[in-house]
Symmetry: C2
Subunit: 337 residues, 2 copies
DNA sequence: CCTCCTTCATGAATCGTTTCAACGATACGA
DNA sequence: TCGTATCGTTGAAACGATTCATGAAGGAGG
């Protein structure tokens, strides 16, 4: 049933070595031999067996990518960037979705290690890098995505989330807002903690400004909606005058909650800013101000780093940090009433 | 560097065969031998080489899944269902995103075939099943997802899209709407064509009802928004009184366009219904009526069929068809003015 | 005519795991 | 005491592609 190089070799009356050469270094083989082998391949319907290839090569030609949430467009954009860079080298991305769940994260790492992937890109859940360090020691390059290494032991490609948080809140205070609610969580996720830290710094530099933290269980539209509803229910005197949502998904949820009863107007009553600048953000009912991160570029660069690390195993860990950018839209605009 | 069963065997003073048995059939090995081998594995940090395993086994323990759009929550739900069923068998899902692009679809199929995946689940782009038929003839089971096989040659798990289209439009006409716009495309995608067919049938049974088809280049929020804007610009006399969007992403886009200027009220001026019933639908500014499909179950069932087909290669192709369900929310509700 | 290159092709060895026929040891029943 | 199960273990063969040392054939230069 299965057609192997051996069968192709027989059909083309050459040796298996020659078939392999046709496949991998056609220039080293006489043109008419190439043609003959190709014809045999075509006729027999030969398809390379990747497992055998990998076994021989020692490493697979895939790169594992573990993200926190596939449904977040930010991560699909990162994945796309990674895929594009990998494709340039004829490699593939294996996408794993940890869904902010430690067990799932671990099982993907185990899987990738058994697969002898070329390397692992990961947007990790907690702060424990020991598992990743071990992986790296054993010879699998690891690059942190959207997150800086705690102790600099691992390479990373990230955006400065503290600066991002500062940008967001400074924009709000600059627009005259003073009672700011930070919506996001869990704070065990580094990105959340950093953006909060940035928010605090921006608050500290404005007299009279205060920050209220509303922690959410995770970073989805539904959590945002719940948070938004909780805010909406408050007595008017208790309302914040601005909300900084730690990502756009949450922000969209908050916006939906505010809009639902028409009770809270954005930006008139409450200004709203998100983070990530996903496509949906611009297309929201009230176009959403946000902090843009170069998602595609992050993925692209991460693979780049990974390939370099794979080529020179002794290379020191390298940190690439991009700067976030404020994108102003209606949701933090001048009151339109 | 690399630790193999051979090293483990040496460290535990047993044969390689025994190590393999400990890994795969621990009950066939004496308890203290198991312990000794496990200790050696742990000490040496042995990790199975999946490539070698696969090579020996002839097939990988992964299942390839090609979807039209990873960003569509419907497909991530399908993927999740597939993943859950696969996990029950200790298998893995390889997720490929064709992005409605034939080249990408083809390259994923090639990749999966080289990987000797256990089978392929695919939500195919066009109507050409020959590539898939060939794959199947060569021994890789194929199951169509969210789509019925043209000639019954391939197994499939789908939802009756014609019925779904009928349900949607009948609901609109039942609410008194007569000038209905169908938004969706390209019609080369079977799901789109079928839902349109259903819409036409429902129109035919209502006197005075008419259907206008507004074709979109693809099925994204942005396309929906563009279509919505085009409708909004029309003179009032030319407006439809209902829109059936072929999926929720489009519907959300249409809704955003309608809301943006406040010029078109949903459902007062125009009723709107989508398809898929994604989470966002319920959470939209105007909660969206939609046609629910059992996404998770589709994925789960598809893997189930695949596994059966893999177990008995001569099994006849099997078609599973689920029925769609109408979910009524505000967007088609009674006018609230 | 001989030597030295270059170009092509060969086929055995290799990667790491699993499988399976075979075997030694121990126990059991007759 | 002698078969005969049963249990645990062994080690070689196999999976299929790639690599690489080896060598054959042909051409150029002297």
């Amino acid at each position: 049933m299965a057609v192997s190089v051996r069968d192709v070799a027989a059909a083309a009356s050459v040796s298996v070595g020659t078939v392999s050469n046709v496949l991998n270094r056609p220039d080293k083989v006489a043109p008419d031999t190439v043609a003959r082998v190709l014809a045999a391949i075509d006729e027999l319907g030969f398809v390379r067996n990747d497992a055998a290839r990998q076994l021989r090569a020692g490493r697979s030609r895939s790169i594992g990518l573990v993200v926190l949430d596939v449904r977040n467009p930010f991560f699909t954009d990162v994945a796309r960037g990674a895929e594009d860079r990998a494709a340039e080298e004829g490699m593939t991305i294996l996408l794993g979705n940890s869904d902010e769940n430690a067990d799932r994260e671990r099982s993907y790492l185990d899987l990738f290690e058994e697969q002898r992937v070329h390397g692992v890109l990961i947007s990790p859940l907690g702060d424990d890098e020991s598992r990743l360090q071990r992986l790296r020691r054993r010879g699998t390059p690891v690059v942190l995505v959207d997150r800086v290494s705690e102790d600099g032991g691992l390479s990373s490609v990230a955006v400065d989330d503290v600066v991002g948080g500062e940008l967001a809140v400074r924009h709000l205070t600059g627009g005259g807002r003073r009672r700011i609610a930070f919506v996001g969580g869990p704070t065990s996720i580094r990105q959340v903690a950093d953006r909060l830290e940035g928010a605090r710094r921006a608050i500290a530099e404005t007299s009279g400004a205060e920050l209220e933290v509303i922690e959410t269980p995770s970073l989805t539209v539904l959590d945002g909606r719940a948070a938004g509803e909780a805010i909406r229910e408050r007595p008017a005197a208790d309302l914040p005058d601005a909300v900084f949502a730690v990502n756009d998904l949450l922000a969209m949820g908050v916006l939906q909650a505010f809009n639902m009863m028409g009770s809270v107007r954005v930006p008139d009553d409450i200004a709203l800013i998100g983070y990530d600048d996903i496509d949906f953000a611009a297309a929201a009912v009230v176009p959403l101000s946000s902090i843009r991160q170069p998602a595609w570029l992050i993925g692209y660069t991460a693979v780049d780093l990974l390939l370099k690390a794979a080529a020179e195993p002794d290379r020191a860990a390298e940190q690439v940090v991009f700067q976030p950018e404020l994108v102003v839209r209606d949701s933090t605009g001048v009151a339109t009433t």
